[in-house]
């Protein structure tokens, strides 16, 4: 990992909620084009970690650097930083009073001040890619969960972010809709996007990840390539966690 290709670096991040630490001392580096999958039991702090990265949660200590510049020292403007960090949420969070197209165009037009025509062309191209161009004028309530989530991905992508954060984006979906969303993410990963993904879909994690990080109790317990991690986890805790996904006949 050479220093020039490091897009994001987290140093000794600590995050407290109330009187307990959710994240104790998390450090990691993310390279350009890398797909990092964070897994771990519920409450291990993986979602919180993503939320810290784009400033939705204040951190207690540590540092986050994007393109070598600190975004947590108070000098960076979050509205600018967040344009470089796209985020997709578990519950989609489309804006219910806007059509699909207006949802997607809000960022480019109001934040990046692009003109509507040009942004709309981009939006249509992205919608086409996720197979939803025919839905551009409908309201979110008329879409299925999987469709909403694909729109949410487009809404983040149109800002041309340097990193995409995915926070359990398939956790609220019916099983048959999980696939359509994961396919979009696989395609992004193959296209060279830098991504940080929190997921419980182990098969997907294995297929999409360049590197897997296993978090437990607010700290990184193990990190490795997907094959190494899933086949031969080094730690007991990771082994126990992975065992919860396999079944044996009793």
């Amino acid at each position: 990992m050479s220093e020039e290709t490091i897009l994001l670096e987290v140093r000794h991040l600590r995050k407290d909620y109330g009187n307990g630490a959710v994240l104790k001392d998390v450090s990691l580096k993310l390279e350009k084009g890398e797909v990092l999958v964070l897994i771990g039991p519920s409450g291990c702090g993986k979602s919180t970690f993503l939320r810290c990265i784009n400033g939705l949660e204040p951190i207690q200590s540590g540092e986050i650097l994007l393109d070598g510049l600190s975004i947590t020292d108070g000098t960076a403007k979050w509205s600018e930083v967040r344009q470089k960090i796209g985020m997709v949420f578990q519950s989609y969070e489309l804006f219910p009073h806007m059509t699909v197209l207006d949802n997607i165009l809000l960022g480019p037009m109001k934040v990046q001040k692009r003109n509507r025509k040009e942004a709309e062309a981009d939006a249509c191209q992205l919608l086409e890619r996720v197979g939803l161009l025919d839905k551009k004028d409908v309201y979110p309530r008329q879409l299925s969960g999987g469709q909403k989530q694909r729109v949410a991905i487009v809404r983040a992508l149109i800002m041309k972010p340097e990193i995409m954060l995915f926070d359990e984006v398939t956790a609220a979906l019916d099983p048959e809709m999980v696939r359509e969303v994961l396919d979009v993410m696989m395609e992004l990963a193959a296209g060279g996007s830098t991504m940080m993904i929190v997921t419980h879909e182990m098969q997907f994690a294995r297929a999409a990840a360049d590197r897997v990080i296993f978090l437990d109790g607010g700290e990184i317990v193990e990190t490795g390539t997907p094959d190494a991690f899933f086949d031969k986890p080094k730690t007991d805790r990771a082994q126990r966690f992975l065992n919860t996904f396999t079944f044996e006949k009793k």
Binding site: N54, G55, L56, W78, S79, E80, R82, Q83, I85, G86, M87, F89, S91, E93, L94, F95, P96, H97, L106, G107, K110, V111, Q112, Y139, R141, A152, R155, A156, M159
Partner: protein, 225 residues
Amino acid sequence: MQDLGIRVLFMGNNFIRLLGGLWITLKISLLAVALSVVLGTLLGVVMTIKHPVIKAITKFYLEFIRIMPQLVLLFLVYFGLTKSFGINLSGQVSAVIVFTLWGTAEMGDLVRGALISIPAHQYESGAALGLTKGQIFLYIVIPQTLRRLIPLAINLTTRMIKTTSLIVMIGVVEVLKVAQQIIEANRYTVPDAALWIYGTIFFLYFLACWPISLLASWLEKRWKN
């Protein structure tokens, strides 16, 4: 037809007088509604602030206004202020003050409810796009709040219009008072005038409130998410 009380309605300028009374009713209610919308919106925003003192004050105000019958409030302002402080307010001004106090409390609670019903995630997904706080309010929170609020605010308006009938009690000559005067004036010649005159008032109130109710339900359907 001679014996029907309805002729009272069209005797002299009775009908015009009734409409004049209705105008007083509507003038007072609409003025109070307009003030309540402005002040209530401010109150509602203030009520979302999580500060114990602010919370206590606004809660006290809201509960006080809600527990007090409107009639008592009217008496308090109209008679009480004069008696205790020598402030002499006309009936109409007192009515506007009381209905504004009441409307502001109710409206404030509606605004507060609409504001807190917008999930935190909506703010976050706006923030994640890089929108500033102001933009999040302008493009995401306010439009959604209005959609929830307007049907409720319209219902409050009709409630306020109807409740103004109480201001008879502080001597304001509005539609109900005019009706009583007409009925009294014809008590011997047309004993059953009451039915017709009050019946007419029923329709006048209905005509004033019905379109507003229709608008509310139309908006509610249109904006259903």
